[in-house]
């Protein structure tokens, strides 16, 4: 299984490639039958072709990902990353996301779960509201 440094580097590399609009480079980090839940609770994107469409839409919306802290697990399978994501078209949308990537022995991402809710998204340039003031 990929070691912890590899897994943390993958999380950063995914953000770097997406920020550079390198969709094919970002796709290369995942297996052909990847399951991509973004967000968790909605129907997943399954397979690389579907993920390509998802990522193309993201870069068309000028996505910018700013990963913060990444942690791992003792089983060699996971990296978990807290990330701030901004989309700039058609409006400025900001997201606070904690995502899990599950790896296979091939070092590729097999399953992605992006945890964010309606209360983790803001429209416009303002900072996301504090949890206590949210109404959802």
């Amino acid at each position: 299984m990929p070691d912890e440094a590899f897994r943390k580097a993958m999380a950063l590399e995914y953000a770097r490639r997406l920020n550079e609009r390198d969709v094919e480079g970002a796709l290369a980090l995942f297996t052909d039958d990847v399951v991509f839940e973004d967000p968790v609770g909605r129907p997943p994107t399954i397979g690389k072709e579907a993920l390509r469409r998802h990522l193309v839409m993201s870069v068309d919306n000028q996505v910018h990902e700013s990963p913060r802290v990444s942690v791992t697990s003792m089983c060699g399978r996971f990296v978990v990353t807290e990330t701030r994501v901004v989309l700039r078209t058609p409006a400025v949308l900001k997201f606070h996301i904690i995502g899990i990537v599950e790896f296979g022995e091939d070092g590729l991402g097999h399953h992605v779960q992006a945890f964010w809710g309606m209360t983790d998204m803001t429209v416009g340039e303002g900072r996301p509201a504090e949890p206590a003031s949210r109404s959802t």
Binding site: E4, A5, K8, P39, V40, G41, R42, V69, V71, T72, S73, M74, C75, G76, R77, F78, V80, E82, H96, I97, I98, I100, F115, W116, G117, M118, T119, D120, P131, A132, R134, S135, T136
Partner: protein
């Protein structure tokens, strides 16, 4: 992983309340947040357990070691069931540190006296429709634990 009906705000508040009760060191109050058949892992891929009795033993040991936690800002999934919160935890070095060292999870200090353990974690909680925690998974690896003064 099941689904529930709790609101995002309630789940985020639950995650923060969980951290407050940990810092209060009151294991009975903490366990009130859990369902009887809870399953937990701390860390994921390491120690796993099930049931309130096992969870009580887990936290009683941590509280005896002076566990303190500092939560970050939680997020909530759109499945009605999950919340995820970054947490930094600190305990005395003993008794957990020597056990972690035996398992190869950290390099023991030359002199452990006065040392503490700091872990950078992500705590994933799954709650049921009544708002009780049914699953708690704490993610951290070898590169997320430090021995500090």
């Amino acid at each position: 992983m099941g689904t529930g009906l709790t609101s995002e705000r309630d789940r985020k508040e639950l995650a923060l309340e969980h951290c407050r009760r940990v810092n209060a060191g009151d294991v009975d109050a903490l366990l009130e947040l859990y369902g009887e058949d809870v399953v937990f892992a701390d860390p994921v891929g390491g120690d796993e357990g099930a049931g309130l009795r096992a969870l009580r033993a887990h936290y009683e040991e941590a509280f005896a070691a002076g566990l303190r936690v500092e939560p970050g800002e939680p997020v909530a999934a759109q499945d009605g069931a999950h919340t995820f919160v970054p947490v930094t935890s600190v305990t005395d070095y003993a008794p957990l540190g020597p056990r972690f060292a035996e398992r190869g999870w950290l390099v023991p200090p030359d002199d452990p006296s006065g040392k503490r353990l700091r872990r950078t974690c992500m705590l994933l909680l799954r709650v049921d429709e009544t708002g009780l925690i049914r699953e708690a998974r704490t993610f951290w690896g070898r590169s997320d634990v430090d021995v500090i003064d």
